[in-house]
Amino acid sequence: MDFSIFIGGQAGEGIKRGSMLIGKVFNRYGYHVFIMNDYGSLIRGGTDYTEIRVSSKEIHTSYNRFDYMFAFHMDVFEKYKGMTKENCFTLTSNDFPYDDIIKEAQAEPFMKPSIVLGVLSYMLNIPENFVEDVIEDDLKKNAPQNIELFRVGYKLAEEKGFKPIHLLKGDKTPKPLLYGNDAIGLGAVRAGLKVYAAYPITPSTTLLEFLAKNADKLGIVALQLEDEIAAINLAIGSAYAGVPSMVGTSGAGLDLMGETISLAGATETPIVILDVMRVGPSTGAPTYTEQSDLNLALNIGHGEFPRIVLAPGDVEEAFEVTAKALQFAWWYQTPVIILSDKHISESARTTDLPFSNNYPMMVKTYDKELDGTYHRYKITPDGISPYAPPSMPDVVVHVNSTEHTEEGYSSSLPETLTKMKEKRVRKMKTIEDDFKLMRFINVFGEGSVAVVSFGSPKGAILEAIENLGIKFVQVVSLEPFPTDAVLEELKGVKKIISVEQNSFGQFADLFERKTGLKIDKRILKYDGRPFSPWALRSMFEEVLK
């Protein structure tokens, strides 16, 4: 059982929120759920839709073809009618009185999805009281009116003689239905995050909202500043003062943070920077997905300094990668960039997060007996100096953006520059050596043809390679690049296919440069929409021929 439901309408018709409610129903009914939101940069009007994909087996992405289509207006139907599967059940505003039902119930347009839930529940034979319990639980004080709409939808579907099938209750235990950004926030808190600072920018804003809403429960502050520059500089201040800090933004906001990322590298301040990639260049298509900030993340900030760039491939990894990013930032005392994208951050998936994992905050602490007088930039074999926050008696912490002595005093003497640059090179080597042990790739399947990729295409690739005899190597750490691990996994592989969502092939270029291997086929997608597993599968089959 694997089907996709399309709910389309205008901004303001509750499609995103309503889809979460419907997703919750299927989740509790024992099914895996994936929700993908396709919306424009508008507050009212437009042609938005959400796909709710429901399956009895684990699913990793949206299907982008539909079995059920509910369209609140004809323009959204016209726009997407080509994406229906054969025998798709379609219910447009021409066939069904969505607006009249809302008017009669004196309800609000954003409650329309509850009517859809009624029709669906009738057609799939899901017990009414089961669904009503979920609505009550999910919408709390707004539940009564939505339950009323649900009942109208259910009854009307029955009256109109829609053909029901019996969807048996699934056997999957319900899991949290989380957006990628929620998982990122939870992962950060799991690793000790205390300060999150940001300026609203799609598609990272929902993380700021999630953390702000839950700030008290999480014991953190989530702050909106005057711009991205203020956000990251505030976080640099709080990190310097000893508190785990993170900022989140998207493309253009990352550009603005560039100068301060270089500052973090020079001053060796632990900071995590999340970039939720969207379509660029410039304002681009802000609500659509792309992976075109890879080169930026690898190179942002003038001068040379150690950095780590990590890219999760799905909601679950978003949790883990973020937690690890905080650990790395503090252990190595350098900026760590997380590359998510709209398709991970603003899609929801039933996910079990590894809450039992521990991500302790490990810091090379200052020991007076061992280290003597505190020197912020003490020269050490691994390039990492003992860390101390201000507020320790008899410890003076001089942090300096100008090149500095071990004590942290400004100096541009040639021997100082050499010493400090070599310290940071050693730190970079330490990171590279440690990362070799951690590997930071995920490997799936076996075969003489291999797919290589990073980030959100993971989901579509996993579904596309099923039973094809293809190996999939997902790179999680882009910097340092896990060259040895990748070469080891690709030994004996005859053909390599790269998959990424941009027009230049930034990942493919990086891969070739780092491994010396040649990619035989580059699959690039740059229309802002996520990969479809079936489309990718036929491209893979082409290569296998």
Partner: protein
């Protein structure tokens, strides 16, 4: 108590920075000696300019940061550990060119931090260009035909930005500066102090200011009325007022944002399961 470090101070002889450095040094030394503040809790933050090296010369925690970004750093430090006393130094370029918005925003947030403006109305470190506080018509290396822009009045700007402590001093009068810095240190909330200072090499205003400044405390002026303060801040010409223009006490940004949270010491592990349950 001597807060000096072994670094050799590298400013031009007669630079206005010496006055600011020495005045603050003696105020802080006294405060530490009298156990009003703990030495380890003071954190100095400086931006970019000749003055920026000032953090090298105090035996105190410091962060010599990039141009214009001092204010958000101060707020981050205070939020992370409210026991800390963040004191920022900015130049007229930091405060009103590169970092103008941050200067306004930290004031309207009433973040519990201090900000000292080294205002010499010229870019010294880049050897003599005009700044946002240079007078109109000011001839500099980048404005050979005279500055076409109107200058910013820092005191007026900070008043309308709702700073809760606004003062002005003159680097040529260390005793008076000490008084202002001491009051600044006592203030709970955002404290802004403009210091008029000469750049002996590119814009020597020493004589200009010396002849014009007069102290508000020596008049019947009281710094408790916003409208009068605003009016007073506009006085600039034959006579230039120095002293405390305005002072009021209001809840700080940190009070409102932290709501009792302790980010620095409280590291208890949060049970995320409770939060995630609502997503099932």
């Amino acid at each position: 108590m001597n807060l000096a470090t072994d670094r050799k101070i590298q400013w031009c002889p007669g630079c206005g920075n010496f006055g600011i450095y020495n005045a603050l040094k003696s105020v802080l030394e006294k405060a530490i000696d009298e156990k009003r503040v703990k030495q380890e809790n003071i954190v100095l933050v400086s931006g970019i300019g000749c003055y920026g090296y000032i953090t090298n010369y105090y035996h105190l925690n410091s962060f010599h940061t990039i141009h214009g970004r001092v204010p958000p750093l101060l707020t981050g430090i205070k939020l992370a550990n409210p026991e800390l006393i963040p004191i920022g130094f900015v130049g007229d370029g930091d405060a009103f060119a590169e970092g103008m918005s941050h200067t306004i925003h930290i004031a309207r947030r009433n973040s519990n931090a201090k900000l000292i403006l080294h205002n010499n109305s010229v870019y010294g470190l880049t050897t003599g260009q005009f700044t946002p506080t240079s007078p109109k018509g000011f001839k500099s290396k980048s404005t050979p035909f005279g500055n076409p822009e109107n200058p910013i009045n820092p005191v007026t700007l900070m008043l309308v930005s709702q700073a809760t402590f606004v003062a002005r001093g003159f680097s040529g009068d260390i005793k008076h500066l000490q008084y202002i810095f001491d009051e600044m240190l006592k203030h709970r909330g955002f404290a802004f102090v403009e210091v008029l200072q000469p750049c002996v090499t590119f814009n020597n205003t020493y004589q200009f200011y010396k002849e014009r400044v007069y102290k508000l405390e020596e008049t019947d002026y009281k710094p408790d009325n916003f409208n009068i303060a605003l009016q007073k801040s506009l006085e600039w010409g034959e006579k230039i007022p120095v002293g405390i223009f305005y002072k009021s006490e209001l809840p700080t940004y940190e009070d409102l944002v932290l709501r009792g949270l302790d980010l620095f010491y409280d590291r208890s592990v949060i049970d995320l399961k409770d939060i995630v349950n609502e997503f099932i």
